[in-house]
């Protein structure tokens, strides 16, 4: 009953979003502002409605209503409450409802702003947001309905349908199938919502970009309005990607964090293009350049958001992430096609209006280096895009689906990433408009010298001989010293001028130019993450062995001894095999680890949980691969030594802080400074 109500409410929000689209267009065409206002209110109304629908779905989840097929698929009685709630996004249809809910909340939030100066944008922002919303709501209504119930027909078959088929009776299984145990990890519970938040918030800048194209108000107004949305979108997408990596590291048991799986890449592509966009909008704001380029980037970002979701959910690519085969593929395809064609047509139509207000005068100016940054990000993006499409292309020409593996991506993107790290150091030193080798050299020689000294220490004291690692470490040292030096210089100058102490100066500096210093913090965090990646990629070692009780295995400085294995049932329906291993480092006992294997009775799935000793220097990561029933006969372990990997996780925390600094609202969020074009438009 309540499920039918939820479906009805959702249907209503679908109709409202469709209405919002037409009302907004009609209002714009006929210059009737009341219609535009009506469309805005209609769109805002979808938020409470979809909130009710989601609430009903959560209610069904926590009250074990297994007569609803979605509830049966994703939960079971033994699951704790928080997992039942988060199962909302554990399956295809529920996650689409959740997506819609986020979309409507963001669209509502953006339409609450004051529109006085940007009235002509409003109808088109409503149109783009509502079309996107209607698409996702429509998918749920027509293809992936989470409210479908089980019915038993007279011959005993159980079918799922929204409404009672003739001659059938309601059917309710006693318990659900439960969430895949692999997904019962804190990182995995927050990972999808973070990605969705990132995806959804990129819709807002896209909506404004399209509004700017349609209305012809192509100055930097749209980028200024959406600046904070872009940073927030970028932050959520980054957190989502990192959590996915952390989950893989903790759960998948191969001691890695990133596998270049098509679905990982599908989420990485909008991030790459979005990061390029985040940088290049700054040039448009400062110099009025690259307007057409920014349009291309934001359209591409939006297309990649939808394309990524499509790849993940349509089954076009085989992947460990693939959702079940689903009927939503063709709808997604049509939506992507229409979006791309319309955006491209608009872009071509407005091409001549998107002219730069300045010329690129120096190849070493800040804007030129930003352009280089963009080219590097786009190159990485093209590598990824090619890799993802390659199976489809090869199938077209050879009839075989050839998948490109991690080595392809690593080789192709490695040098590009290294170049990006170096550029990240140099670019902030250059000036807008004009820089020379001399000015750059003057600013860079001190940090560069420090980096060389640091590198020599790494080579001779750390005994690093791998040439790629040496290049990597140089890039990292150089860029981190420059960035720290920048902080120091600015804080020192300020403390001299204002007669404050250095710490206070540094703090006030952040307050004064949040975007710049937040950005530098993000740069530093990327450096920390790069250190972790270099450590794991270049210095990971592993070994494997079958040990009898009391036997040992050595890996580098570590010696592990197999002490014991306990097999027992837990009270939440699992069977655990838990080994006890003592770890020695350079002959010193440093602790015990407990790698284990949990077997989930209800889903009949095993799960490997590594024993990890984690320090700032390295991780020792042990997996219980196999064991004999009689523990004295032995057990097989796989042991990984992952140097520096913790820097990756600490770096990501710093990245969140940096993004928060950069996105923090300033006292006057809407500076009255507008560029000449905007002034022209406002005077109209």
């Amino acid at each position: 009953m309540i499920a039918d109500f939820g479906y009805g409410i959702f249907l209503l929000s679908f109709i409202l979003s469709i209405y919002a689209v037409f009302a907004a267009i009609y209002g714009y065409q006929t210059n009737k502002y009341t219609w535009v206002e009506s469309s805005r209110l209609a769109m805002q109304l979808t938020f409470p409605l979809i909130t009710i629908t989601s609430g009903i779905l959560v209610y069904l989840l926590v009250t074990d209503q297994y007569h609803v097929s979605f509830i049966y698929e994703v939960t079971s009685r033994s699951m704790p409450l928080y997992l039942k709630i988060t199962s909302l996004w554990g399956g295809q249809s529920g996650s689409l409802v959740f997506w819609s809910w986020l979309m409507s909340s963001f669209a509502t939030a953006v339409t609450f702003r004051k529109w006085d100066r940007d009235r002509e944008f409003l109808p088109w922002v409503v149109v783009v947001s509502s079309v996107t919303l209607a698409f996702f709501v429509g998918l749920v209504i027509f293809f992936e309905n989470p409210f479908e119930k089980f019915w038993q027909t007279f011959n005993g078959d159980v079918v799922t349908a929204m409404f009672q088929p003739a001659g059938s009776v309601p059917f309710s299984p006693p318990d659900g199938k439960g969430l895949n145990p692999l997904l019962r990890h804190p990182g995995m519970i927050i990972h999808p919502p973070m990605l969705y938040l990132g995806f959804v918030s990129f819709v807002i800048p896209f909506a404004f970009a399209i509004a700017a194209l349609i209305t012809g108000r192509t100055d930097d107004r749209w980028t200024r309005i959406t600046r904070r949305w872009t940073i927030v979108a970028w932050l959520f997408l980054s957190i989502g990607l990192i959590l996915g990596g952390r989950w893989a590291y903790d759960v998948l048991g191969w001691g890695g964090y990133w596998g270049w799986d098509p679905v990982e890449i599908a989420a990485f592509m909008p991030w790459l293009v979005g990061t390029a966009f985040l940088h290049s909008v700054m040039i448009q704001e400062k110099r009025g350049m690259f307007k057409e380029w920014n349009m291309i980037l934001i359209i591409l970002t939006y297309a990649m958001v939808i394309f990524g979701t499509f790849l993940t959910r349509s089954g076009v690519l085989s992947s460990v992430h693939a959702f079940a085969q689903s009927a939503i593929g063709p709808s997604f395809f049509i939506f992507i096609g229409v979006t791309l064609v319309v955006s491209t047509a608009l872009l071509i139509y407005r091409w001549k209006d998107l002219r730069s207000e300045a010329e690129l005068t120096s190849m070493l100016s800040r804007e030129a280096l930003f352009l280089l940054n963009n080219l590097l990000f786009i190159s990485i993006y093209i590598v990824c895009f090619w890799g993802v499409l390659f199976p489809l292309i090869s199938e077209l020409f050879t009839g075989q689906k050839v998948t490109v593996g991690p080595p392809f991506y690593e080789r192709a993107t490695g040098p590009l990433f290294a170049a990006l790290v170096v550029l990240m150091g140099i670019a902030p030193l250059s000036a807008w408009g004009h820089s020379t080798i001399k000015t750059l050299g003057k600013a860079a020689w001190k940090p560069a010298t420090a980096a060389v000294i640091g590198l020599l220490a790494i080579i001779f004291v750390g005994k690093v001989t791998n040439i790629y690692a040496i290049i990597g470490f140089f890039a990292v040292l150089f860029t981190s010293f420059i960035t720290l030096y920048e902080f120091w210089r600015a804080a020192y100058a300020r403390s001299r001028a204002q007669k404050e102490n250095l710490v206070l100066s540094l703090w006030r500096l952040f307050g004064k130019n949040r975007r710049r210093y937040g950005g530098y913090l993000i740069h530093l965090s990327i450096i920390l993450m790069a250190v972790g990646i270099i450590g794991l990629e270049m210095f990971q070692t592993e070994t494997q062995g079958t040990l009898a009780q009391g036997e040992s295995l050595t890996l580098g400085e570590y010696k592990i001894t197999y002490n014991d294995l306990a097999i027992f049932d837990s009270n939440d329906n699992r069977n655990l095999a838990r080994a006890t291993i003592s770890v020695e480092k350079n002959g010193q006992f440093v602790g015990e680890l407990h790698p284990r294997r949990d077997y989930f009775y209800e889903s009949q799935q095993p799960m490997t949980i590594p024993g990890v000793r984690s320090t700032i220097q390295d991780d020792l990561y042990i997996i219980l691969v196999d064991w004999q029933p009689i523990t004295t006969e032995g057990a097989t372990f796989k042991v990984y030594h992952n140097p520096l990997v913790n820097w990756l996780w600490w770096g990501s925390i710093m990245m969140i802080l940096g993004s928060m600094v950069a996105a923090w609202p300033e006292k006057d969020p809407e500076p009255r400074k507008v560029s000449s074009n905007a002034a022209l438009a406002a005077a109209d």
Binding site: L252, A322, G337, D353, L392, T398, Q400, A681
Partner: protein, 194 residues
Amino acid sequence: MQQPSAEPTGSERKGMPAAVQAVIWVLLLGLLALVAMGLKRTQQGTVQIGDKIPDFSLVFFDGYTYEGKNEVQLSDLQGKIVVINFWASWCIPCEDEAAALESAWNAYKDSGEVVFIGADYVDTEPEARKYLEKFNITFPNGPDLGTRISQMFRIKGVPETYFIDKQGVLHYIQIGPFASEDDIHTILDGMLGQ
């Protein structure tokens, strides 16, 4: 509602040249066509239970043979139950079922009525060999070159196992690893009893 107002005044910038526009449209439509094609193939769906499986052949890794040959052709196996298991050395869940498969193979191989075949999906040979060695796999195994066989079965991932009956008709599909060796026995005994 105000109409477009930021029209450039006195701009010497021209619109995009027609040739560039044409290239953009061709690329865009080409991309869409490519994805549409991939989608169409996906929509054809997996092979269904009850389907007659088309013929295929698999060349084994060195050291594996079946009836003295280092290659097998499905059509030569008429009259036998064929169990085809897709796996990969990088696949963690595959490790969960490797021992069970091998043990089940040992239980049936002498009857001569059941053949197990392992098809290695998207893998490198040294890694694959290590994997086979680690689990002492003795039933014939070979690389699924160019993913020809897995394409035919339209597998979604590894491990997946397909049971083909004596008439060459698909009888059962196992997605994901077997929970235990008993499951394999249950399926095969059911098929043998028919």
